[in-house]
């Protein structure tokens, strides 16, 4: 009986998740150039040797790391501040309004959001330069076409887009902290900041772990630069994942074998991060 209930799950999952993953592993050990029409040919570790010495690997991994460093701390801090403030709003109705509005960007469709921000960053007609001009600060910026500015611009958009998720997680964490702890500390003469630093923050540690696991997936960022900059200007936003995508679908022969090696290493990296964090979290909870 049980098998009957899970049959549809296993069918779709096996065919469109497990099988592609297995195939990707096979491709990673093969020479497979899709457009040449030749079937994949097993080449052992050749792809991995090439991957190790490919200068694009470290370069684009560096871009992904820089993106993560630009995005994760900023987004976490913004979300934490918003959550702490929101947690202190006494009126339930007002806090709901704030929460609904702050979470709104999260539900907007990703692709359309990225396109919208591409227009916002338009040097002549975009909102970003318009705001700079009306505030009277600085000169108009080439947000997405200045090599030094493109990556931070995309990270800024991401902070805007997903802050709500992190904020909600922090809100839950704050809600689960017994108020008496803060009160007790206050009676003992601790100031507002001391309570936050020594009572609230340590108790939020499990939430920080969850946020970290969710956010480290950012290392695989592809779609944002693909839509907004196509990896440019001068490869400034060609992240590791985007480079792998280009090897698979932009290369003259569609080098799916070698690209699978890139993706496999990314998958292993994600899985390792998730596993370590999961273990740490379990240990912490128990």
């Amino acid at each position: 009986m049980g098998y009957l209930f899970i049959a549809p799950l296993i069918g779709v999952f096996a065919a469109f998740v497990l099988y592609p993953l297995a195939l990707a592993v096979q491709f990673a050990f093969s020479r497979y150039q899709f457009l040449t029409g030749e079937p994949p040919r097993f080449t052992g570790l050749a792809n991995f040797e090439r991957w190790l010495t490919d200068e694009r690997m470290l370069e684009t991994f560096g871009v992904a790391v820089r993106y993560t460093l630009l995005y994760v701390p900023a987004s976490t801090l913004y979300a934490l501040i918003a959550a702490v403030l929101l947690d202190r709003v006494v009126s339930r109705r007002i806090s709901t309004v704030y929460r609904v509005l702050l979470y709104l960007p999260v539900v907007l469709p990703a692709s359309i959001t990225y396109h919208m921000w591409k227009w916002i960053y338009d040097p002549t007609w975009g909102l970003a330069n318009q705001l700079l001009a009306s505030a009277g600060v600085g000169s108009p910026q080439r947000w997405l076409t200045d090599p030094g500015l493109a990556l931070p611009s995309i990270a800024l958009m991401e902070v805007w887009h997903l802050m709500g998720v992190t904020m909600m997680l922090f809100l839950v964490g704050l809600n689960n902290i017994p108020r008496e702890l803060g009160e007790a500390a206050k009676v003992d003469g601790a100031g507002e900041w001391a309570v936050f630093r020594w009572v609230t923050l340590p108790l939020l540690r499990p939430i920080f772990m969850i946020v970290l696991v969710l956010r480290l997936q950012t290392l695989g960022v592809v779609t944002q630069p693909l839509i907004m900059t196509d990896g440019g200007p001068i490869r400034a936003t060609t992240t590791y994942g985007l480079q792998a995508y280009f090897i698979a679908f932009r290369d003259t022969v569609w080098n799916i074998g070698y690209a699978s090696t890139w993706f496999l290493m990314l998958g292993l990296c994600s899985a390792a991060i998730a596993f370590v964090a999961w273990r740490a979290m379990r240990a912490h909870v128990e």
Binding site: F5, D122, Q130
Partner: protein, 293 residues
């Protein structure tokens, strides 16, 4: 999960100086403005005539409102209606499949006994953390072999597969919390397992199913990488990719910000309507889904 009987906030016990409260609300209101600004900017351009857009400096608020840009959309990109139809069809079918399959499987993993149950469950859930992009090249070759490239099924099946793990995880959690006594009572009354699922468990798990539906709808509606890679024509291309053809190129005057923003606005609306209407479920799902690890 959210503390139901929440003690009085500290602020009630020790009245704070007013300026602090004011600062708090000013900051929060500011953050809300930041969250809304891009969207309001987009709306204001979608609703204004072209003549009020290409002016330096561009006025923040339009002086006159028009729906002309929405009319212009189909004139500029005749395939537009087809992109929207594909978006609705593909997203609808995927979300429907995800909900149905995950309800069935969630129930089985929560309540039915069969060999390999735990192993299968963890095998499915383990893929939750894998970025779906690593399967894109392999999926491409599979869809190409099956002749499913550039078809609805070629997107619906991968979407369903990749959003199932999270959904199954949520639904198992939902069914686990339903009291066993209910089930026992029904069984004593002569309910068959199928009836039991259909008549008793499904109605009780409906709130979970709504959460699953929302959490599949949002990412699939705006998905880009799969649809960009696996579709190439109006056969199956959804609007999340089709929006590319509205890119404003003021130089030629062919496409304008006004038309592009109008097209984007139509894609935003379903998400926002679903969100506003089911706002409570979003919060509930966020809280329950994310913290059960």
């Amino acid at each position: 999960m959210v503390a139901l009987a929440r003690p009085l906030p500290i602020s009630r016990l020790w009245p704070r100086p007013r300026p602090r409260t004011v600062t708090k609300h000013v900051l929060l209101a500011l953050a809300c403005v930041v969250s809304l600004a891009p969207f309001l900017w987009l709306t204001s351009i979608a609703l204004r005539p072209v003549a009020e857009t290409y002016v330096i400096p561009m006025p923040i608020l339009p002086r006159s409102l028009t729906l002309d840009n929405f009319v212009q959309m189909s004139a500029r990109v005749p395939q537009m209606a087809i992109y929207y139809r594909n978006s609705f069809g593909i997203t609808g079918a995927s979300v429907g499949a995800v909900v149905m399959i995950s309800c069935l499987a969630g129930y089985a993993f929560a309540r039915l006994r069969f060999p390999g149950r735990e192993l299968l469950f963890w095998l499915v859930v383990a893929t939750m953390f894998l970025p779906s992009m690593i399967a894109v090249p392999a999926l491409y070759t599979i869809l190409s072999t099956l002749d499913l490239l550039d078809t609805w099924a070629g997107l619906i099946l991968p979407y369903t597969g990749w959003y199932l793990p999270v959904s199954v995880f949520i639904m198992r959690g939902v069914f686990t919390t339903i009291p066993k006594e209910l089930e026992d009572a029904a069984r004593i009354d002569g309910c068959s397992p199928v009836q039991l699922f259909w008549r008793i468990m499904l109605p009780l798990g409906i709130s979970g199913a709504i959460v699953v539906a929302i959490f599949a709808f949002v990412p699939i509606w705006g998905e880009y990488l799969f649809s960009f890679t696996f579709t190439s024509t109006t056969n199956a291309m959804p609007m999340s990719v089709g929006i590319r053809f509205f890119e404003p190129t003021p130089a030629t005057g062919n496409y304008t910000f006004n038309v592009a923003t109008a097209a984007a606005l139509i894609m935003f609306l379903p998400s926002m309507l679903v969100y506003i209407a089911l706002q409570k479920w979003f919060t509930k799902g966020m809280l329950e889904g994310a913290l059960k690890f």
